[in-house]
């Protein structure tokens, strides 16, 4: 009755509200004109092409990629053993460890960036890129631990015991029996971490400088001075990148199962 009309109406409006702006950006980026406008005046890929020519975008993209990939990998290297310890052992300070590792989700990123700048970079001349890298790694760490923990909790521990009784060492049992079965979780954690790091802004706000800039920060700076569709084009490209990764993850992995 009313539900039958109301329901599609609500959903329609909702999706327009959530996704519409994104579609508008895509359209605006295809504008043949010179200013940012919607509807676009004519269609052209020139702004999309322009994005690739802007040096600072290329550099900051590389930086963002570097941070996302290696920061997440580092977070996994730290996080997988921690997740294993938390899920398999009755750790004496388990809750404390879990809280400390989850801090980055609770503490607003901007504060961390500021704190690192003020106490590490400025007084000691600590390398900004390194500080940024550490911040991104710490940012992704809670996601890594959480997702991998969930996978481990779903895996019975007697499998490892069985492997050990059949002659395997503990480490061997982990790599032969546990890893193959949490592979999906690890990959999901990686993708989640990658997307989180790549799109991250507040942490990187203060930890920027000449040559050290993440892409979103670079975009913000560009937006302040230039009002052309380049940003729209870049936003669209990045959005497709993110969506593409997650889509592939869902397709080949069933990504949504892990998060």
């Amino acid at each position: 009755m009313t539900a039958r009309i109301l329901s599609p109406l609500i959903l329609g409006l909702l999706l327009i509200f959530l996704i519409g702006p994104f579609l508008i950006i895509i359209a605006a980026s295809l504008s043949a004109g010179d200013t940012l406008a919607f509807p676009p005046q004519g269609l052209s890929l020139k702004w999309v092409a322009k994005v690739f020519t802007i040096d600072s975008f290329r550099e900051s993209f590389a930086m963002s990629m570097f941070l996302a990939v290696f920061g997440t990998l580092t977070a996994l290297v730290l996080g997988i053993p921690a997740a294993y310890a938390l899920s398999r052992y009755k750790l004496p300070f388990g809750e404390t460890v879990r809280t400390i590792v989850s801090l980055p989700i609770i503490v607003p990123g901007i504060i961390v960036g500021l704190a690192l700048l003020r106490y590490l970079v400025v007084p000691f001349g600590f390398n900004i890129t390194l500080a940024l890298f550490m911040a991104h790694t710490a940012l992704v760490l809670p996601y890594a631990v959480r997702v991998v923990s969930a996978s481990l909790n779903n895996l019975r521990s007697d499998m490892e015991e069985a492997a050990v009784l059949l002659g395997s060492s503990r480490v061997g049992a982990f790599f032969r029996v546990v890893m193959p079965n949490i592979r999906g979780g690890i990959l999901a954690a990686f993708i989640l971490g990658f997307v989180t790091s790549f799109n991250q802004v507040p942490v990187s706000l203060f930890l920027s400088g000449p040559g050290v800039r993440t892409l979103p920060i670079d975009m913000l700076g560009y937006m302040e001075t230039t009002y052309d569709p380049s940003i729209a084009a870049l936003s669209s490209l990045l959005a497709f990148l993110s969506i593409g990764i997650v889509f592939l993850a869902e397709r080949f992995l069933g990504f949504s199962r892990y998060v």
């Binding site: 109301l6 329901s7 609500i10 959903l11 909702l14 999706l15 509200f17 959530l18 996704i19 702006p21 994104f22 950006i25 940012l36 406008a37 919607f38 730290l78 053993p81 921690a82 310890a85 938390l86 398999r88 052992y89 009755k90 750790l91 404390t96 460890v97 400390i100 590792v101 801090l103 609770i106 607003p108 901007i110 504060i111 961390v112 500021l114 704190a115 003020r118 106490y119 550490m134 911040a135 710490a138 760490l141 521990s157 503990r170 790549f198 799109n199 802004v201 507040p202 706000l205 203060f206 975009m219 913000l220 937006m223 940003i231 729209a232 936003s235 669209s236 959005a239 993110s242 969506i243």
Partner: protein, 275 residues
Amino acid sequence: MFQNRAEALALALPAAVFAALVFLLPVVVLLSEGFRIDGSWMLSAYTGFFSESLNRTVFLRTFRLGLEVTAVSAVIGYAAAFAIVNLPPKGKGRVIGLVTLPLMISPVARTYAWIVILGRTGIVNQAIQGLGLSDGPLRLLFTETAVFIGLLQLFLPLMILSLISALENMPKDAVPAARVLGANWFQVFWKVILPLTREGLVVGGTLVFTGSLTAYITPAVLGGSKVLMLETLLYQQVSVANNFVSASVIAFMLIVMSIAANILLKRLATARNKR
């Protein structure tokens, strides 16, 4: 086989130490700056901060907007979640995917879209002028409304997903049972659905509220310096005014609000498990 505590600690320590050194330590030091003037502990930084009307305005505005966004997202969230939960499986999956989609896109992109829409030459203004409702372009950007809309769009998916999960975990017979006993839809919502989905509401609400409090990009882009929020104020205090004490005060408040929200969340989670 999992008895050796030393083993466990060795495995967990690197991550914990790393997080403590990179996050905990610097932040604690930063926060202490707000409590110490010239080497002695006092609260004058805080009293000083709140004595300025600008700061009070910013603090209240941030809080108020946070609550508004949370409230509105709850209402829309329930409506949307109901609609989605009753969809056939295939459609449901697709719609949920579409709702989750924005979460994967950079906040910069998502916020930027509103410039296109709300700007002087944006769609809304074009429509308003086209319809003859106004002679000149309205200033829609750099208003609280713009920030509100931006934040809502940013966090609404979180509320919706949370409520969907809560609705699906509700015992399936609860609503029909209430209907059979004579409840109308309003009563069903208030007395059955709301209590049973309370946790989902709290989870979603906490995520939306803390998100709104600690958002940077959206207030920065859509509000600018005309609609300052706590994080944009913080940025300003550091980069323009070089006022670290003030920044520390703001940081402390942000963290306290964030932690308070998280503790509330944990309390409610454990309260449930006890039942």
